[in-house]
Symmetry: none
Subunit: 155 residues, 2 copies
């Protein structure tokens, strides 16, 4: 039995005419072992779909409860947005989930999608948008940490 439940890797999958996508096999294995369910919602910050185990949202709710800012407007808004948007995603015997119109539209996904692991969470992107986003992030990270630059890369 595995000890860790981390979503990793970047997987490209097709979305068929009915809006079905194969959840990557690795992700399915996690869901199965964790005995929890996948929950998806529109990312608050990016044009992509975000997914995680229901456990994580449970933890989020808990943290909010215990937080000092229990009545803060900000947290209220955040929880509203997330929990109001989130939806459990079941998958069929071949491991496909159905993405709703709302989600697909938010991420601008039509016929193909990229799953990007984020540890406890994962994201689903329009492949082209992800490519740009990845480049942006790489540039950003290297800018903040110039010492990380590849030796010899004069860039």
């Amino acid at each position: 039995m595995r000890k860790t439940f981390l979503f990793m890797d970047t997987i490209f999958n097709k979305v068929d005419a009915k809006g079905r996508v194969s959840l990557p096999a690795d992700y399915r294995a996690i869901v199965k072992e964790a005995a929890s369910e996948i929950v998806c919602y529109r990312s608050l910050t990016s044009p992509c779909i975000e997914g995680c185990l229901e456990d994580l949202l449970e933890k989020l709710a808990q943290d909010m409860e215990n937080s000092l800012d229990f009545f803060s407007q900000e947290q209220d808004d955040l929880t509203n947005l997330i929990f109001g948007d989130a939806k459990r995603q079941t998958f069929d015997s071949t491991g496909r989930i159905m993405l709703s119109e709302k989600l697909l539209k938010h991420a601008d996904i039509t016929d193909c999608a990229v799953f990007v692991g984020k540890g406890r969470k994962f994201q689903i992107w329009n492949p082209e948008n992800w490519k740009k986003e990845e480049e942006r992030i790489r540039a950003e990270v290297l800018k903040k940490r110039p010492s990380l630059k590849t030796p010899g890369e004069a860039k």
Copy 2:
């Protein structure tokens, strides 16, 4: 049972046409005893592949979770970059792992590779590139710490 799990030594192995490489026996022993799995990803800093136990990434995920800004941009970026690139590497009964095209290309590896121990992590290099890198590192160290010079070596 051993208490420490450190990757050490420098091992040269062949990569076959399918991208398979034998994980050095010592490394395999660590994986087995730690009851964790190997995870590989493109190094952020060098043209090489980096590997570690999944536990290490688990720890990273934990730190992220416990940090205050659950929704911070910076964390988002980092997790995307690291977990999006990482991949669990299982090995077959003879101890080989499969390196993806993406990884091989990043490290410029074709038919042979060098495993370099780095303690909690290890790296996989193109042998020629590693040779140069090692020389660079040696020179760097000597430059910064002249006192390390072999006694008798006149400056």
